[in-house]
Amino acid sequence: MNSYVKTALAVALSACTFSMAIAQDKVISVGLNGDIRNTDPGVNRDDNTDAVMMHIVEGLVAYREDTSIAPMLASAVAVSSDGLRYTFSLRDGVHFQNGQLLTARDVQWTWRRYLDPKTQWRCLAEFDGRGAAKIVDVATPDPKTVVFTLDQANGLFLAAMARPDCAGSGILHPDSLAADGSWRAPIGTGPFTLGKWQKGQYVELDRFKEYTPRAEAEADGYTGNKQAFVDKVRFEVIPDSASAKAALLSGGVDLLPDVTAMDAAQLKQVKNLQIQVSPIMTISGLLFQTRDPLLKDVRIRRAVALSLDYAQMVAALSDGLSVVNNSVIPTASPYYDDTARQGYTYNLDEARRLLKEAGYGGEKIRMLVNKRYPQMFDMGLLSQAMTQAAGLNIEMETLEWGTQLERYQTGSYQMMSFSYSGRFDAAQSYESVIGDKQKEPRKVWDNPEALAILREAQREVDPAKRQPLFDKLHTLMLKDVPMVVIYNGTAIGAMGKRVEGYRSWPVAKPRLWGVKLADTSK
């Protein structure tokens, strides 16, 4: 064979190999309803930012699929008998995305940075004494061990650490900062690295080829084996839901992690699409201002609670995808038991009797709603209609979301239709509603007994001992009626048929590890 032919063959073979390599690059595109804000984990963030950052960084512990806590970068966690010391043993051979090995010093450095007020870390309040406990020391007795010392026992310590809005307290390499200490780019241990961020348009993540997965066979929530099978994830910023749907139908995106129930019903009919549904931990319901001259009477609040046909309401609000839940503990929580299942029974006669006993004479009750989140508006509308049958005169006042949020924060309302963002521990759910209204006007339930039980639940580490405390809180809440919880939401993922392995889950954030793209050309 002459040299010319050999060269030509070599070139042809290289070209084939090269084109095969390109063809094998798997890119999954995912719709996000807004741009991310920042790449510094847990700093100046929102839901979309958290969703992306949780692909890049990993913390010592993380949420499992069932929202319990499990080790992630740690191989084991030991808690001292007095609950003051948490000893994390680090896994062997974990690499950062710059090739460096993870050591205890990196954990210490990261946490010192998080605990520095200048960082403006979202979750500083959980660990500096304002929350349930304060981290007084982060020690590294050896390169594979980190010991956190608290000022008091805190049953929520690990749960707070794992929170996605804290970016899972993801451990960073010091090279994430520039020489002058300013933020450069995240260097974590996660299955993806930060690629290109075209602001206002898209964020790309690249597969971290030297990712060190855990030994488990599969991923389990934010822990387990998080091996990535796609080469690139492209999060497309699509603020408009109609445009997002159009993008999915045209193949412009492969996955929309959060479509509405109505859209899901339509998309289910489309041949090349599939839907994935999971209950999530958001709490939706009606809040009462118990300091209001009218609503301070528990009989009126109970009358509202008894005049709602919950089954009908939830079926309408969620297109049949959610169930009724009158408990602050979400149905997906491991603490949701038979006691939590107890709730209000639709009883118009009893509602009318209570109103009469309270001397209610048809006075107007103003309920705040907004249209930015349709489920809040629809919940208000249905509540208004149903309570009319009992004789309640509820008037809806539609506000812009920012305005309603301010009214919520200051307690300046009589009644409001509201949804709390997901809390993944039952104590966190109760903490969002229980408190001293003098100090925190946003809290709806100002009951010293409830607050004492909550504090105990926050300190207690043993789940078996926490359960009866949550049962007590639920029973007390049904009696006091400071709010009416109606249901928890659902996360509905819509995706093309070629997407395999994607699952919606209670934490309601997309996870692109473990996801494959089937070859549809065959």
């Binding site: 929102d46 403006q120 809005d165 603020p239 045209s250 412009g252 920012g402 924060q409 963002s421 925190e440």
Partner: protein, 303 residues
Amino acid sequence: MAVPTLLLISVIVFALIRLIPGDPALLMLGDMADPQSLADMRSSLGLDHSVVTQYLIWIKSVLSGDLGMSISSRQPVLELLIERFSVSATVVLVAVLLATLLAVPVGLLAAWKQNSALDLGLVATATLLLSVPSFWLGLLLLYVFGIQLGWLPVIGYVGFASDPMKAVTYVVLPIITLTLVEFGAIARMARASTIEVLRLEYIAHARAKGLSEGAVLWKHALRNAFAPTWTLIGLILGNLLGGIAVLETVFTLPGIGRLMVDAIFSRDYPVLQGCLLLVTCIYVLVNLLVDLLYPLFDPRVKL
């Protein structure tokens, strides 16, 4: 006069934005915010100063060319405005140019054939396009060309600097949508002003001299009839360059309109202030340009 006017505009812009209820710190931290975290956030954003102090800090930096930092993204506002404005301006300028090139001849034709079937058809089409909401038209075009035919991308944007050919595919649909929407108004104005001009004696004189209808329309009628249309185009341009928020949302274009809407929702005061100042300046500049070019179309008008 310009400096006091701009200062007055800056005070109005600053004050109006602060009148919107809602706390940027609270919107950033959400429903989990404790009072200390809120106070810390407000302090870091400079919102703990009095309104007057906030204004003075802001205006001082504006006068030195610094529009501040976005509360949400911590990007320099000026950088954001330039980036986003270029996207909106591309779409708007091309669309208005196309709309003008189509609408003016159509208006002339309709006026020339006034009350004929052709005139009625063109007026009806222009009225229909004027009445149709732009987002509906945009979604319809997306459905047909993006989903059913698959000819054009449904989402996204590529800058002309990075890939001109690809960039064109992303802006074709928004440009077509905007062209159709603005076509109606321009065509109707062109028709109305041409009808007025065609009634004048000098047109009859031109016809009596034996000039062709084409020459009468293009050389004699258009120049005088175009002036009011030109004013309208100026107003449309000034209005649209301030942002085509709805279309940018439908077509996921990273333009100035979407930036402003996002800034309103998140109470991103520096971005909102920057956007409003920019929009005001553009409006003034565009209308100034229109006034300066007016004598080209109507020599009777002196500057």
